[in-house]
Amino acid sequence: MAAPARRRRRRAPPFARILLLGFFLVFVFVPLYWMFNTSIKPSDDYLAIPPVWFPDAPTLVHYQAALFTYRGLEGLINSLIISLSATVLSALLGTLMAYSLARFNTGGQHLSFWVLSQRFLPPIGIVLPVFLIYRNLGLYDTHLGMIFAYTVFTLPVSVWMMFAYFRQMPRSMEEAALVDGCTRWQAFLRVAVPLAAPGIVAAAVFAFIACWTEFFFALILTSQNAFTLPTVFRAFIGFQGAQYGEAAALAMVSLVPSIALGVLAQRHLVRGLTLGAVRG
């Protein structure tokens, strides 16, 4: 009996896949590479035609200028302080709330919905009044003010990621702790939290990235004192060509930590992107 003819494959043949993925990889790569290239390119090469793909004499001059002349380093430190603090606060408050929601269904559907919907509030609606309120309270352009703002900003995602995490953790260990001699707080701290540690770390990573890359709030709520790294890019707008390298250098500096963290936490990415609605 002759062998049956080869069936049509279920998916497109590998050639199409290679083409598509190849195109995408190039697509992702090119802007990043060009930015890296620009950051080490001496200014003389800027307007060269054909474009210089890798400079003969790479330089770190732009990094220096970006960090010091344009106060990029200050922005970086501010970003670090604010993002870390907000992350810790967000993870803490978020985990507490998520545990209560997951184990006790506190506040029912209404509370969960209210917290979830915060994620989708257009920032413009919040930032205007907060700007006015902060000016009145003296929190404008302060680290503390930004920390509070960013905590609220990242809270919904933290809550929802941890909520999903706690939901799929069996209750029996906490119940065993209760029967063994713990109060609810002790059961939470000694049993639930250690078990949820990976989830908490993941939520913290995503909160940090969100704070690190945020621009709008920082633009409006900071000035010379508590300005964050993304806002430094304001200095490079409307230029006539002198600061390409500095802009690129600063971008590179900002990119590296958030990308590194994101790639490390990618196992939890789907949960973070969908507010825990989907298990990655």
Partner: protein, 312 residues
């Protein structure tokens, strides 16, 4: 087990009594746990919203003295402003187009990545990189690529197409819209891709195996198995991305500054200019409330549906 009695194991008795405070906090445990987060949200979200509602009904302008009540004046001014209307149209157009393209591309990439192959992990790590970059930097990166005379885009295109390309990508219509969309697609296609991939991998493979045994073709299998299973996930991805896309601000700010003129004013950017460059704060808050209401309607409809559907 042995036969010796458990002489050393006397009753351990009760644990130490709880103080009044400890007992109270144990009884009210669940409320105490949500209290801090709720308080913060009330203070920095609910209160500002209510405050801004009040502001939109009075005259709050850095340039005009007094805080007189002006009724719906501010709202009317916003609605009457042609730039406001334009910004709404542009927002819908830009976000709709971007999200649609991201969805289709994301789906293709997800389909390409479903099967395991060598290097898949590495490619995955590279493809998700744009998600972790500040939108400002994304805008900056594309500005560097596109801005004449510095960016290599025109040069590359000239080489590819054979004739000289002198498009000013950030100031010439319609190319500048394309630039904005490309930047958005670059950053957010991975979002779609990641979610759709998760949805695809959740489909049990034996459904496809059964289909293959039954002699069902690839396209039919896609329609009958893939699409129905992916439905909820697609809705989720589209909802989330759309709700984010309509807030478009950062890339506009860096790439075009809203210009030339007001050609690239999205809703958020428009409100920003009104509030922070013109300082017509009450007008801006009125406008942002209008924007909020529009968003809220979409959020309530879609998010409520999502909450019910997801078996979290």
């Amino acid at each position: 087990m042995t036969d010796t009695p458990i002489a050393p194991l006397r009753a351990a008795g009760a644990p130490p009594r709880l103080s009044a405070l400890a007992a109270w906090s144990d009884r009210n445990f669940k409320w105490l746990m949500v209290a801090p987060a709720v308080a913060l949200i009330l203070a920095l979200s609910v209160y500002p919203l209510l405050f801004s509602l009040v502001v939109s009904f009075i005259n709050y302008d850095f340039l005009i003295p007094g805080h007189a009540f002006v009724g719906f004046d501010n709202f009317e001014r916003v609605i009457a402003d042609p730039v406001a209307r334009w910004s709404l149209v542009l927002t819908v157009f830009l976000s709709g187009t971007s999200v649609a393209i991201e969805f289709v591309l994301g789906l293709f990439v997800a389909l390409a990545m479903v099967r395991s192959f060598r290097g898949r992990g590495l490619i995955m790590s590279i493809l998700i990189v744009p998600l972790f970059i500040s939108p400002v930097i994304v805008g900056q990166a594309w500005t560097l690529l596109l801005q004449r005379p510095f960016g290599p885009t025109n040069y590359i295109l000239s080489q590819l197409l054979g004739h000289e390309v002198t498009i000013s990508w950030l100031t010439e219509s319609p190319w500048l819209y394309i630039s904005l969309i490309v930047a958005d697609v670059w950053q957010w296609t991975p979002f779609m891709f990641v979610i759709l991939l998760a949805g695809l991998t959740a489909i049990p493979p034996n459904l496809y195996e059964a289909a293959e045994l039954d002699g069902v073709g690839a396209w039919q299998a896609f329609r009958a198995i893939t699409l129905p299973h992916l439905g909820p996930m697609m809705l989720l991805a589209l909802t989330f991305r759309l709700l984010d896309a309509i807030r478009l601000f950062d890339t506009i700010f860096i790439m075009t500054g809203g210009g030339p003129g007001t050609q690239t004013y999205t809703a958020s950017y428009y409100l920003y200019t009104v509030g922070f460059t013109q300082f017509h704060l009450s007008q801006a808050t009125a406008g942002s409330w209008l924007f909020l209401i529009v968003t809220a309607l979409v959020v309530v409809a879609l998010v409520r549906r999502l909450l019910r559907v997801e078996p979290v």
